[in-house]
């Protein structure tokens, strides 16, 4: 007589089906930076007072604006070769135009989620959450800024050229001059004040880079 009971497995309800985020798939990407693109950020840090006490302060810094360059066969010279994607033409063109490519393997910034019709690629600073019918994205801008400061400190990207950074001042001046005529309106006066502060901080950030070079990113 054969007793089959030892072949039996305990029954278990399948508790988890593969979770897919309700977003359309996109292709993989890499971050790249062009030396023309910088943005002002106020970075919190501490300084020592004359009495030897720690004092919180905000330092204006120009951080790189990073472009997400997607590798899609058929776009900007990228092609599918066998089962891999060959973006060498696009990468070469970017390098020719002065871009710096930030290697995703070396710097570990990509996160991949199973999504509708493939995978959704995004950065590690974006957290996705579903609320009702919407997918809410939380972006951890502080950590992103810290990471950008790190890549500046480690020399992956060169500090901004002061003349290039100063081009931003032109557009800021233009935005302010549009407001100046209506500064008798309190709301406009506030907007103008914000822009004036931004201009002052941008000038301070440029001066910091001029004075310290790459060390401008050391707090």
């Amino acid at each position: 007589m054969t007793d089959y009971s030892r072949f039996a497995q305990p029954w278990e309800q399948k508790t988890e089906v593969q979770t897919r985020i309700p977003k359309k798939a996109n292709s993989r990407f890499f971050f790249a930076h062009n030396p023309e693109n910088w943005e002002l950020k106020m970075i919190e840090g501490y300084s020592m007072t004359e009495e030897g006490k720690r004092k919180k302060q905000k330092t204006p810094m120009l951080l790189p604006v990073l472009s997400s360059i997607h590798e899609v066969p058929g776009v900007n010279g990228t092609r599918a070769v066998g089962s891999r994607i060959d973006s060498s033409i696009m990468r070469t063109n970017l390098l020719d135009q002065g871009w710096t490519i930030i290697d995703p393997i070396k710097h570990d910034y990509i996160r991949v989620y199973p999504a509708h019709k493939g995978n959704y690629h995004t950065s590690k600073w974006i957290r996705l959450e579903k609320v009702g019918r919407r997918v809410i994205e939380h972006f951890d801008s502080d950590s992103f800024d810290e990471w950008r400061i790190e890549i500046m400190k480690s020399g992956v990207l060169n500090p901004p050229h002061p003349q290039i950074a100063a081009l931003r001042l032109i557009s800021m001046n233009r935005a302010m001059s549009r407001l100046e005529r209506d500064q008798h309106i309190p709301e406009i006066a506030n907007r103008l004040k914000t822009k004036q502060t931004e201009l002052k901080n941008t000038k301070a950030a440029i001066a910091r880079v001029e004075k310290l070079g790459g060390l401008a990113y050391e707090l």
Binding site: N26, S27, F29, F31, N34, E36, N37, E39, V65, L66, S67, S68, I69, H70, V72, P73, G74, V75, N76, G77, T78, R79, A80, I89, M90, L94, Q97, W99, Y109, I110, H121, T122, S123, W125, I126, E137, F139, S141, F144, S171, R174, A175, R178, R181, D182, I185, I188
Partner: protein
């Protein structure tokens, strides 16, 4: 006086009360017409803003190299040192450049089994032919997606990933194009393609404009009125389009863009004379084939297109960043 055994639609009380549903009545009657879910397949393919660089069919390559040369005033003349000086050592080097557009296979495949197909109501109900017709629309959507991805590589940027789109950012993008290529300026017309959220932010910013030159412009007012199609209006001489396929970057922003003609171009290819294909439909730029799987009583409806999009001249486009 109420009867003790009424004829009801649903089973009321005990199951023996005799509800008609699921036996003599349908629990739901499906509509005769198949209505369309919301979609966005509008793109700039048939406008002068995207440059068609030809078909790869019979070209010997999957790549079209767009040739660019500095002619017709790109180089200026210079004054001779004297009226009889030998200037043979001062020849001008011709400025040349090129952009490669590579066509790649894009596809969409549906599978439909016979039971699903045969139980349709006929007419325009879902069957392999209706699916094939739908694939033509899928090509347009893909075109819009690839346009968004290609434009995400423009070097020049305006706006920021951390702020909502404003009139100031829009002006910055226009100024960048007007002073492109060391002041040469990109010739118009200009067009802006904005994510729907960015468009509403721009409209909000326009409403808050106090300068008469902007707030009292007829086109500013037109921009604020809701429109059903993707064309949103003309603002400061720039045609504004809304697209759900603007690239979402990994810094939590939208890569909206403003372009002038020859900023972006495309190439394509259409399979012709496909051997062994029993059932092939050429629908514009798309080829749709039916692949019959008798063993599983199903039909695959395969749509293919060969498409390549890319930046032709970087200076003719601006990436207009805005917060997601």
């Amino acid at each position: 006086m109420a009867t003790t055994k009424p004829i009801t639609f649903d089973s009321v009380g005990s199951p023996l009360s005799g509800g008609l549903v699921d036996k003599l009545r349908l629990s739901a009657m499906i509509s005769q017409e198949i209505n369309l879910l919301l979609k966005d397949n509008a793109n700039l393919r048939n406008t002068a803003l995207l440059s068609y660089q030809g078909s790869i069919n019979g070209s010997g390559s999957d790549t079209v190299r767009v040739r660019l040369a500095g002619l017709d005033g790109y180089d200026s003349m210079a004054a001779a040192t004297s009226e009889n000086s030998d200037e043979s050592g001062n020849t001008t080097a011709l400025t040349i450049n090129s952009a490669d557009l590579v066509a790649a296979r894009q596809f969409i495949i549906y599978e439909m089994d016979d039971l699903a197909s045969m139980t349709g109501f006929g007419g325009s109900d879902i069957d392999p032919f209706r699916i094939a017709q739908s694939i033509a629309g899928s090509y347009e959507t893909r075109f819009a997606e690839l346009t968004g991805v290609a434009a995400a590589s423009f070097t020049t940027t305006a706006g920021l990933n951390t702020t909502t789109l404003s009139v100031d950012d829009f002006f910055d993008a226009i100024f960048e194009l007007e002073q492109a290529s060391s002041g040469s300026g990109a010739p118009g017309p200009y067009a802006a393609v904005l994510a729907p959220k960015a468009l509403t932010e721009l409209q909000d910013s326009l409403r808050n404009e106090t300068g008469n030159a902007v707030s009292r412009m007829q086109s500013s007012m037109d921009m604020l009125s809701a429109k059903g199609e993707n064309y949103a209006g003309n603002l400061f001489g720039v045609d504004v389009y809304r697209s759900a396929h603007v690239n979402e970057n990994a810094s939590s922003g939208f890569d909206n863009f403003v372009i002038s003609p020859m900023a972006l171009g495309y190439v394509d290819g259409i399979p012709a004379g496909v051997q062994g294909s029993a059932d092939l439909m050429s629908m514009g730029k798309v080829v749709v084939e039916f692949d019959r799987r008798a063993m599983s009583a199903s039909t695959f409806i395969c749509g293919h297109a060969y498409l390549g999009l890319g930046i032709i001249e970087d200076a003719r486009g601006v990436k207009l960043l805005s917060k997601r």
